[in-house]
Amino acid sequence: SISADTLSTVKKKGYLNCGVSTGLPGFSNPDDKGKWQGLDVDVCRAVAAAALGDEKKVKYIPLTAKERFTALQSGEIDILSRNTTWTLTRDVSLGLNFAGVNYYDGQGFMVSKSLGVKSAKELDGAAVCIQSGTTTELNLADYFRQHGMKYTPVVFDTSDQTVKGFEAGRCDVLTSDQSQLYALKIKLSKPNNAMVLPEIISKEPLGPVVKQGDDKWFNIVKWSLFAMINAEELSLASDNIDAKKKAKNPEVKRFVQSDGPIAKQLGLNQDWAYQVVKQVGNYGESFDRNVGKNSPLNIDRGVNSLWSKGGFMYAPPMR
């Protein structure tokens, strides 16, 4: 039978089910009003804005690392946007499709300054706190094996608990994707006593995921993300897009009002990209707001800068 077309079910429901993390500052975290915020959350909002015209029409389903793929496979969520690493296995054998990358990450280590360690290579015999069921767990094993070092894995269920374990001194090192390390660091009661080691031991491209077999929906998610990146490149932001709409720049024009059959073939309204930027903002805005300079995390843009500024963020042209 035809597996149900996600877009039409979403339209029928009137909202989007989006799987997010149970709480990772900067990526997905409920604030004290219970409103979800973060870089991953913004992807969901963008898709909702594109598909439904309203970024608020999202139902956030907090998932633990363990639950996330089953939840997507089972159809409980329409899109998984939960700092998930794109790997071959996941792409192939779990029946998933990665719709792009919204954060280029790499696994790193955080240690207590008092330990006096300057490099990950000095970590032989250390106890390492990790979150269970992640690629991190596998990378870590590989890294230590490769360098002929021993370690003691201390595995927790949620990143929250991982930090607590690290803080209590249960382990010498906390390993996770670097972005998370920064996020977790500010959760420490004395953030300045900890430091992130320079080594990055893996590639961790994080991005939104959808089920295989629904190309239309796959495209929508993919292009919602690309729209955010392209908007930044075009200097379109939520506060200036109305003004620039009237400008003559053909590329901008295509962006805000994609003429012709393209939008229809995508299954969306003509102004879908406009709505994304208007309601959610461009990628740069989202980055700064959630993890970058306007956030407590204060992560450097680094490799997540636009390609034009020396980073990896590169979206195919919208024509």
């Binding site: 597996s3 149900a4 139902k59 639950e67 409980e76 420490l188």
Partner: protein, 366 residues
């Protein structure tokens, strides 16, 4: 020969056997070993209780809205008071708290009415509580009908969610439990073995695997078009699990009914369902109340496990609060608060069930 016909007066007991001294002698220092135990225990209590009380009360801070209010060096209850609303209502929209409050109020009144012994029309109140109240509560909490704005279940949380899970779990498990118990006592081999297998399987596996299954695997079992709410799925798991336990409670109640009652009902011409509904169950249910309350307590405590599948019950929401950068380092206060709330509920209920048990006990002997 002795003859002594004048009545001696009642004298008060000697001083050292009454009052505080007599009491202490009898209860604390009745033998050398006892005296040593008393002294050791007293010392241990002293060194553990005094700092605890000092921390929790004497040096504690209670009011304020940020961590700056905590200056006294003891417990920082400000963390709790500042977030109390969230702990009680979860992410429920603030302007709609009144709906939850009405449900809470109705619930308390009903429970009080059922617990107080002299309430008239208990049967009617009980049926109202079991049949009508859940419907009203659903419409108030979820909304939908009567122009009430819908509040999605993923916004439910905190104590309210804990109560919803526990109460729905127990109320919905009751009818299933009764059916299973009747099935287990049936003399039809297929029915009986089906019920036995069902009960034993659910009782043999941990609740977290059940919850996990309900939350991630259930969707694999049902047709793709059908999808239902995460909370509902957790509830399905809990109800299945709970009805197996309930069945055992009901079975105990049914066994306590003397055989003569079945026979008398039969002899009057009542058929199986009528004699169950009119004669046996009304009597058995009364005897089962302590057992039901005890399973309810167990379930109430177990609801805290839903945090493992990402629902924000009381414990989970306090934990989430603890990871708020603004309130780091107050985990002890958070955990103590949750422990206290659970303790108050469970202790109250267990006292009630023990009182009932004692009453049923004497009731049977007399």
């Amino acid at each position: 020969m002795i003859h002594n016909d004048n009545k001696l007066p009642d004298l008060p007991p000697p001083k050292n056997t009454t009052g505080i001294i007599g009491w202490a002698k009898e209860n604390l220092f009745s033998s050398p070993l006892n005296s040593i135990l008393t002294i050791i225990a007293g010392y241990l209590l002293y060194i553990s209780l005094v700092p605890a009380i000092e921390w929790a009360f004497v040096k504690a801070d209670w009011l304020g809205d940020s961590r700056e209010a905590c200056t006294s060096g003891g417990a920082c209850w400000v963390f709790i008071t500042a977030r109390l609303n969230q702990f009680i209502y979860g992410f429920y929209p603030e302007e709609l708290y009144w709906r939850v409050n009405i449900v809470f109020a109705m619930f308390s009144v009903l429970v009080a009415a059922l617990v107080i012994e002299r309430t008239p029309y208990k049967g009617w109140i009980a049926s109202f509580a079991l049949i009508v109240f859940p419907v009203i509560a659903f419409f108030l909490l979820y909304g939908g009908g009567f122009d009430l704005k819908i509040v999605e279940t993923h916004k439910w949380g905190g104590l309210m969610l804990t109560l919803v899970l526990a109460v729905v779990g127990i109320v919905a498990a009751l009818p299933f439990g009764i059916l299973l118990a009747l099935g287990r006592r049936s003399d039809m081999p297929v029915v009986k073995s089906f019920c036995v297998i069902f009960i034993e399987i659910w009782r043999g596996v941990p609740l977290i695997t059940v919850l996990f299954m309900a939350s991630v695997m259930l969707p694999l079992f049902i047709p793709e078009e059908v999808s239902f709410d995460k909370l509902l799925r957790a509830l399905v798991g809990i109800v299945m699990f709970q009805s197996a336990y309930m069945a055992e409670v009901v079975r105990g109640g049914l066994q306590a009914i003397p055989k003569g009652q079945y026979e008398a009902a039969k002899a009057l011409g009542l058929n199986y369902w009528k004699s169950m509904g009119l004669i046996i169950l009304p009597q058995a249910l009364k005897m089962m109340i302590p057992g039901i309350v005890n399973t309810f307590i167990a379930l109430f405590k177990d609801t805290s496990l839903v945090l493992i599948i990402g629902l924000f019950d009381l414990l989970a929401i306090v934990q989430a609060g603890l990871s708020d950068p603004k309130w780091l380092g107050y985990s002890v206060e958070g955990y103590v608060f949750v422990a206290f709330v659970f303790w108050v509920f469970c202790f109250g209920m267990s006292q009630y069930s023990q009182a009932l048990e004692r009453k049923l006990d004497t009731g049977h002997k007399s």
